[in-house]
Symmetry: C2
Subunit: 129 residues, 2 copies
């Protein structure tokens, strides 16, 4: 299956068709159309949608995501263009790395607190028996 309808994608990713159309409104996806005007999504469109949803889960705004998509999307042939793209990409990569280590710290903190709670629960149980 190389093409998808809007409702297929809507079901697969558990989002509304409105949402998908909204992303198109914002210029994030650009599906082709049938003669009668129905949207047809290619595999690439689907991949982009996936990228959008992942970006959203990390708290990126649609505007930021749009910039990132252009990074993946544009046919950058010129040397200057390529250099700028690489620079921007490394910047974003740095941000992602920071988010990861930030999340790791949160994870550790949560684990510690949980350990503490579990310990307390154990003490309560030991005392109760």
């Amino acid at each position: 299956m190389t093409h998808y309808t809007i409702s297929q994608l809507s079901q697969e990713f558990d989002i509304s068709t409105r949402t998908i159309r909204y992303y198109e409104e914002r210029g994030l996806i650009t599906p082709i159309r049938t003669e009668t005007g129905q949207r047809i999504y290619t595999k690439k469109d689907r991949a982009v949608l996936k990228l959008i949803l992942r970006g959203k889960r990390f708290g990126f705004s649609l505007e930021e995501i749009q910039e990132m998509i252009q990074l993946f999307d544009k046919d950058r042939t010129g040397k200057k263009q390529l250099e700028k793209t690489i620079e921007y990409g490394e910047q974003k990569l740095k941000e992602v790395n920071e988010k990861i280590s930030d999340l790791m710290q949160l994870k550790h903190e949560m684990e510690e607190i949980l350990q503490d709670f579990k310990q307390r629960l154990k003490e309560l149980k030991d005392k109760g028996e």
Copy 2:
């Protein structure tokens, strides 16, 4: 320095005073007041604010963050309470773990694309010389 004014925190975290008051409006922070009504923030308030901002960076809503704060905050003495808290905490921990591995994947994808771009740039340069 054990206490802070609203503008001190505002400057330290680079957010508006409105934002800080809004978090209070939502019940996320509860600073004490002077006789004349000025807000005074303790170290704990500051820590909570930090937590809020970190949560936001990961795309958690204020509502979710509020729940998480309660996890850190409440004095849960009862056994049932503790068990529920632990369960909720483990759920959140799972979510954090998912976010981390999700982010790692994004990181790898970005690295691959960057590698590709760098390769192309190198080829351009080699050809040019």
